[in-house]
Amino acid sequence: MTERVTVQVWLKEAVLDPQGQAVQKALTREGLPGVKSVRQGKAFFIEFEDESGKSQEDLNQLIEKLARDLLSNPVIEDFQVIWPSEPDARVIDYLEGDA
């Protein structure tokens, strides 16, 4: 079975996000009223087929470790793991259309 994990990563509240600020200005300029804050982050959509026989507990720990140590940098970033994850239909369309 294909496992789908989404990992979202964004800068911690205390860390300056100049890209988010630039996007905030653009959103305001394009007419979105009262934009208070924009934080720009990134998302990883991971698919894998597990035939290793690892326990769910081990996989959970491994994915959390990879999200914390590789996909994000704990000095400056926070992350969220969403698993199991069903990317919404538009995301799937985009990915399939892209291939």
């Binding site: 800068l11 205390a14 860390v15 300056l16 100049p18 890209q19 630039a22 590789l70 996909l71 940098n73 000095v75 400056i76």
Partner: protein
């Protein structure tokens, strides 16, 4: 001198080592063997395209694994620009480097002040010395928690600071930090581009390379 895919300034840094009287040895990112060198320089550039985060993928390479082990045993390590980012990613130096506050890639001659010289890479400088060395980076904004920053300041680990103008929004104008022992040093400016008045704004950068050569000769 380590070369990663995307390293740019390895040749300049090797030239700086030669000019300071040392013998540069090429190391390859995918080879854990560091050929019994006396010191390691991680040069500037955009290793692995800066994908994921600047320095993040390089920090997982076999050569860096060896460097981390040897650094704990006292091997002198200098990270310049992308090399500094790698040292932060791998945890040899505290903090992290994020996108410049102005969102622009900054490339110019930068005034700096030496704040601490407790390192084999700094013996030919003095505290309070002012330098002019080029900076060129897109992600040079030094970030760290307030508590950790005050600890760094207290222990003299912020060895280099931007003066007059902060090019990238770094906290407390931090341009370079060292580890507690002083053998591991990282900085965003490029001393290897300031070793010859023909090609650089000054020869102020040569001191990093002559310092390590002098330190090793004295020790050896």
């Amino acid at each position: 001198m380590v070369t990663f895919p995307g390293s740019l300034d390895d040749v300049d840094a090797a030239r700086a080592v030669s000019k300071a009287g040392g013998e540069p040895v090429s190391l390859w990112h995918d080879d854990a063997d560091i050929k019994a060198v006396d010191a390691v320089i991680l040069p500037g550039g955009f290793s692995f395209g800066d994908y994921l985060r600047a320095g993040a993928i390089a920090s997982l390479s076999p050569v860096v694994e060896t460097v981390v082990k040897e650094a704990a045993a006292g091997l002198p390590v200098l990270g310049i620009c992308n090399g500094f980012q790698i040292l932060c990613e791998v945890g040899l130096l505290p903090g992290a480097l994020t996108r410049n506050a102005g969102l622009r890639f900054v490339c110019r001659d930068q005034r700096l002040r030496v704040e601490d010289v407790n390192s084999p890479w700094l013996r030919n400088y003095y505290v309070g010395q002012e330098l002019v060395i080029p900076v060129k980076n897109g992600e040079g904004c030094y970030q760290i928690s307030k508590d950790e920053l005050s600890e760094l300041e207290r222990s003299g680990m912020v060895f280099l600071r931007y003066i007059e103008e902060n090019p990238n929004g770094s906290l407390a104008d931090v341009a370079g930090v060292r580890n507690a022992q002083g053998n591991v040093l990282g900085l965003m400016p490029h001393p290897e581009h300031a070793i010859d008045v023909l090609t650089g704004p000054s020869t102020d950068g040569l001191g990093f390379f002559s310092s390590i050569v002098d330190s090793l000769v004295k020790a050896g």
